[in-house]
């Protein structure tokens, strides 16, 4: 399981726009590099990050090889209810990782 770090504010006021950040350890091998012998190094990247808030999708990112190694992405969402914010990454070679954090909305 890849190491993932997410930043979700522990508490927020209802209606606040909160910033979410998600970082995951992954080489993001582009598939365009070659070894010294000329063989192409096969592509191995994370394809997608889906962020759900209490089960409802609020943000989705599709990555291409142009996303740097150890993808970091930051974006915003509106604090609606207390609950759980989940990040799910999927990619080549059946890569999958899930990380979630609770949020309290007052």
């Amino acid at each position: 399981m890849a190491r993932a770090i997410i930043q979700v504010p522990a508490r927020a006021q209802r209606g606040d726009v909160i910033e979410l950040r998600a970082l995951i350890g992954h080489a993001m091998e582009t598939g365009f590099r070659r070894t010294e012998s000329g063989a192409v190094v096969p592509r191995d990247i994370i394809r997608q990050l889906v962020c759900t808030y209490n089960g409802a999708e609020v943000f989705r990112a599709e990555f291409h090889p142009a996303v740097a190694a150890n993808p970091l992405i930051s974006f915003t969402t509106v604090a609606t209810d207390s609950g759980n914010i989940e990040f799910r990454w999927t990619g080549d070679n059946d890569f999958s990782a899930i990380e979630s954090a609770p949020i309290t909305v007052e």
Partner: protein, 149 residues
Amino acid sequence: MITRREFVVLACAAASGAAPGALRATPAAMDEAMRAVTGGAQVRRGRVTLDAPALIENGNSVVVGVSVDSPMTQADHVKAIHVFAPLNPLPNMVSVYLGPRAGRARFSTRTRVADTQTLVAIAQMSDGSFWSDQVSVVVTIAACLEELK
């Protein structure tokens, strides 16, 4: 007798010339990638702000941010933002899909930039219109070129 310096220069030239064209998308590939997003609809300049450093020392990790001028309400919001690098091996960099629950239409991530070029961001609005911004960047150390040992 080849000096070490000459050998290094030759080796670099050979390595970079090993696959000419393969490491750079063609203008047609860029057009196709953009058409896949817009469906051929008109793309207007404005409302979008693409934030990237003008001078990139290392193309392997370049912070790129996009924000779009939008109220992000149910009636008027940004549905998707796409970022392109026309001279990367693959023009698509990253696409994000969002909606009124995002509150703000903005995101940032770290990307690879292969060469000195003009990056393009396109935003798709809920009314079906497309808006764009572009930024010219100069790269001193390109991404995607290094060899594995």
